[in-house]
């Protein structure tokens, strides 16, 4: 139970989303929001009422909290600043899948055509990116010859294909551009989150924010792996800022282009990453 990492993830969730909004704003020649804006957003959402939808399922308000608890379990298990990890790689893969599945479930349960379309597209996207993501994590595990996060041996050029695949699949997992389709499905009606308001909507926003920090941290631990605390914090910030810069520059891909891209380019690259890791180690 790594309280330090939980604290880091908690504070970084609010700071990183501010960094992302500032980078997007300054790339559009705007001034962005003030630094405490994500905190104000969250507190305002906690004040609003939760509207019970008569036609949707009664389990609807609880869906985001399933995903949120999975994320917090991962956050409490990752190592930080000398405290060893209490979670292994396989469990992390499954818990991240549980988080991604919260979006299609919410979309299908809410009785709304926008939610339905968004849920179908989110499910298609999950099927596309999960295989390359898992293979890239497995190739890192084969290379470092361990299934836990402790004592990972650090950067190596043999891991470059796996790094590239993990980076692109992380963008898809966080629903960031260019894989933005479930999130902004008609660009104006909010997709899976359409029927949420108040505290469940705050749950969804927290999932979005914390998932960014966790995936940046996983990238750092698996592929760069320097155990020092300051390097940890600085690298995670730089990795997340690079996600934000990619988001500012790319357009949104259509859902069939997304599947095309992952199956044609990412799956062979990730298989190549596994093969290289096997050849190096055996």
């Amino acid at each position: 139970m790594n309280y330090l990492n939980l604290a880091f993830v908690g504070i970084a969730a609010f700071l990183f989303v501010w960094i992302e909004r500032k980078i997007l704003a300054s790339s559009q020649y705007r001034v962005g929001p003030p630094i405490l804006q994500p905190v104000y957003d969250l507190l305002k959402l906690l004040e609003k009422e939760t509207i019970r939808n008569f036609f949707a399922s009664p389990m609807l308000p609880f869906v985001p909290f399933v995903g949120l608890s999975a994320l917090l379990v991962v956050a409490a298990g990752l190592p930080f600043a000398g405290i060893p990890a209490s979670i292994d790689i396989v469990t992390t893969i499954f818990l991240l899948l549980l988080v991604s599945v919260a979006y299609p479930i919410a979309g299908f349960l809410s009785f709304s055509p926008y939610g339905y379309i968004s849920a179908r597209r989110a499910a298609i996207q999950i099927l596309s990116y999960e295989l390359p993501l898992t293979l890239s994590i497995i190739s890192a595990a084969i290379f470092h010859q361990t299934l836990s996060f402790n004592n990972l041996s650090g950067f190596s050029f043999y891991l470059l294909p796996a790094m590239a695949v993990f980076y692109v699949c992380a963008l898809a997992a966080m629903h960031k551009k260019p894989f933005d389709v479930p999130n902004a499905v008609e660009e104006l009606v909010a997709g899976s989150e359409t029927e949420f308001s108040g505290i469940p909507l705050a749950g969804f926003k927290l999932i979005e924010w914390i998932e960014g920090v966790i995936l940046a941290e996983l990238f750092f631990l698996l592929f760069i792996g320097i155990p020092d605390a300051i390097t940890h914090i600085v690298s995670v910030t730089v990795i997340f800022s690079s996600f934000a810069i990619v988001e500012a520059v790319t357009p949104r891909l259509r859902i069939d282009h997304v599947t095309d891209f992952f199956i044609k380019y990412m799956v062979p690259l990730s298989i190549a990453g596994v093969v290289i890791a096997c050849c190096v180690r055996f």
Binding site: I23, A25, S26, S27, Q28, Y29, R30, V31, I245, A248, V249
Partner: protein
């Protein structure tokens, strides 16, 4: 495009400093003001108004003059009345912050017709 984005992070933003400073161009069409001393009550402004915002209110007692009221809720700021007035009794100002909190139908109307 990546180069453009990276360069724009170091340039100044293009945002106007609106809540802190006001930049109004000189020929902006704001609220219309009626000057009673110059008015000759010909009612040409009332005839030229396309929406019926400009109205002449007849005097209640004998010996008084009436008033010209312009309802800013109906006004579309076309300035036809300003052009039509032969004595320049209607004048355009630069006032554009005209929002008001709505209380009741009658109170709102009185507020909108105030000169």
């Amino acid at each position: 495009m990546l180069r453009e984005v990276l360069r724009s992070i170091f340039k100044k933003p293009a945002t106007s400093s609106f809540p802190f400073e006001d930049h109004v161009p000189e020929n902006h069409r704001g609220k219309i003001k009626w000057i009673p001393e110059k008015c000759i009550y010909c009612r040409l402004c009332e005839r030229s108004c396309p929406t019926g915002a400009c109205k002449f209110i007849p005097p209640k007692k004998a010996g008084e003059k009436g008033t010209i009221e312009i309802d800013i809720g109906k006004c579309v700021f076309c300035y036809e009345c300003v052009l039509a007035c032969p004595k320049d009794a209607l004048e355009g100002t630069l006032d554009y912050k005209l929002a008001y909190i709505s209380k009741s139908e009658k109170a709102d109307e009185k507020l909108r017709k105030k000169n």
